[in-house]
């Protein structure tokens, strides 16, 4: 069975692509055959974060228009052979994607025994975002601890529950998970950010994990490696926890409290 996961938020710049790359790598590292699809046609940056931009020949739009086969367009990850990337097009406009085309790609991936398909959604609530979530079984709602981002996520949850395939066909609703990213306990303490509890109170959503604000994210994306591969980093560990929790492991939450003591100060926020 293939499980289709959409990484979504409504708002841009909250960490969707960072999350998509990390969790897709996480699933693959655990031995699950995984594909990650970039739905951000026109912007295209998943391939940069995955470090495969120079190997992009065909993209999702080529597949939809029959200009390439899915096999030709899928790029096998250089770190993990269970992971494949389907890049977005930089040149086409957003309307190039169609529901039918996306549906066919997902069916073909299922036929190829992919276990997880991670759909990296563009920002906004327009066509690309709609197609990224339409076929989803699970939604990872990426939210930053600020009012605007929480409100956008709330809106997105409304759309998920009414405009998805599962909603339209009256199937069991999409399973929704909260991923709180770029979290900084220090800034929560001085009142610059909402706390985990505040966000939970507004969204009433199952918390899959908290990813701290971390320099390691930028370092990782500059070197074209999903941050989860940086096992020493706090963000990398947070994503590893999230993958494990999603797969059913019972792991306590971390990175919610301020780091205590002098060692934390020195070694903590890498």
């Amino acid at each position: 069975m293939t499980r289709i996961i959409v990484v979504t938020s409504g708002k841009g710049g909250v960490g969707k692509t960072t999350t998509s790359a990390a969790i897709a790598m996480g699933f693959a590292q655990k031995g699950h055959k995984t594909a990650v699809i970039d739905f951000d046609v026109g912007l295209r940056n998943l391939d940069l974060i995955m470090g495969c931009e120079r190997r992009v020949v065909y993209d999702i739009v080529n597949v939809i228009f029959g200009e390439a086969t899915l096999n030709q367009a899928l790029i096998r990850d250089k770190h993990c052979e269970q992971l494949y990337i389907l890049p977005a097009s930089q040149t086409r406009d957003k309307d190039a994607l169609s529901q039918e085309g996306v549906g066919q790609i997902l069916e073909e991936l299922a036929a190829k025994d992919f276990e997880y398909v991670v759909c990296d959604s563009p920002a906004g609530i327009e066509k690309g975002a709609h197609l990224a979530m339409y076929f989803a079984d699970d939604a990872f709602v990426v939210t930053n601890p600020e009012v605007a981002s929480v409100r956008d996520s709330d809106r997105m949850l409304g759309i998920l529950s009414s405009k998805s395939r599962r909603a339209e066909q009256g199937l069991e609703p999409i399973k929704e998970y909260l991923l709180l990213t770029r979290y900084s306990p220090e800034r929560v303490r001085i009142g610059e950010m909402l706390s985990v509890a505040d966000v939970q109170d507004i969204l009433s959503l199952h918390l899959l994990g908290v990813i701290p604000e971390s320099k390691s994210v930028l370092t990782a994306s500059n070197s074209g490696m999903p941050v989860i591969l940086d096992e020493k980093s706090d963000a990398g560990q947070a994503y590893a926890d999230i993958v494990a929790r999603y797969l059913g492991e019972d792991i306590p939450h971390r990175f919610i409290e301020e780091k205590k003591g002098i060692f934390g100060k020195f070694f903590g926020s890498k």
């Binding site: 409304g158 529950s161 009414s162």
Partner: protein
């Protein structure tokens, strides 16, 4: 497939389907009013099955063009699944349009049986049932109930819930809640934690600025007294 598993089965089952009672044969007015109703709660009505009832029209001897009526209903994003109270000619037309024909509880049609007089305009069956919502109502969502509305989850800021009857919210109410939207001044709003952007009963409303002294995290009820909204603790 195991050879003893059944392929199909006919079962008698009953569903609650809204019935549209018609009191005029003026298609333009029908179209307009239907549009207004549907626009008030597009998500609620979208693709809803509907039985239309022409019995009153036939009693008053007002013929109506069934094909045109069906078109209007479909254009309003409703799905006509039956006609009730038609005369012989109308029944034939309906069947031609693949619309099943139901006999009215009183008579099949005034033209072939004597009239009976048990229908009053107030008999709007099954349309005024309670709607039960168990998942959070999110920002941007709108819900409409032609009866009561019971929400067992939070209602987010930016969400709007409406009911012709009462509204009950057992999570935090942060969005807009409008009870008695068709003018029922007896309607009430009950909620366990009132932090609403707006509350309204039969068009009388308060916005959050008017409710600053309402203590949150406490069950309250809202009702109308002399055109004023009263917010009171429950118990």
């Amino acid at each position: 497939m195991p050879n003893n598993s059944p392929i199909l089965e006919f079962k008698s089952d009953s569903f609650s389907v809204p019935v549209l009672l018609l009191f005029t044969n003026d298609l333009q007015i029908i179209e307009q009013q239907l549009k207004e109703k549907v626009d008030a709660a597009p998500e609620f009505f979208k693709n809803s099955p509907l039985i239309f009832d022409v019995q009153e029209l036939n009693k008053l001897d007002r013929p109506i063009d069934i094909a045109a009526l069906v078109d209007i209903i479909r254009q309003s994003n409703l799905l006509p699944v039956g006609m009730r109270g038609g005369n012989v000619k109308q029944n034939k037309e309906a069947v031609k349009l693949l619309i099943p024909v139901y006999s009215a509880h009183s008579s099949n049609a005034p033209s072939d049986t004597p009239k009976q007089k048990d229908i009053t305009p107030e008999t709007i069956e099954s349309i005024s049932t309670t709607i039960l919502i168990t998942r959070p109502v999110r920002s941007g969502q709108r819900l409409y109930s032609s009866g009561d509305l019971v929400v067992l989850a939070p209602v987010s800021a930016g969400a709007e819930i409406m009911a012709e009857g009462n509204i009950h919210v057992y999570g935090k109410l942060r969005g807009r809640a409008l009870a008695g939207v068709q003018g029922n001044t007896e309607a009430r709003i009950f909620c366990s934690d009132l932090q609403a952007e707006l509350i309204s009963i039969a068009g009388n409303y308060k916005i959050s600025d008017d409710m600053r002294d309402v203590v949150s995290k406490k069950p309250v009820q809202v009702y109308l007294q002399d055109h004023t909204l009263i917010i009171k603790d429950i118990v």
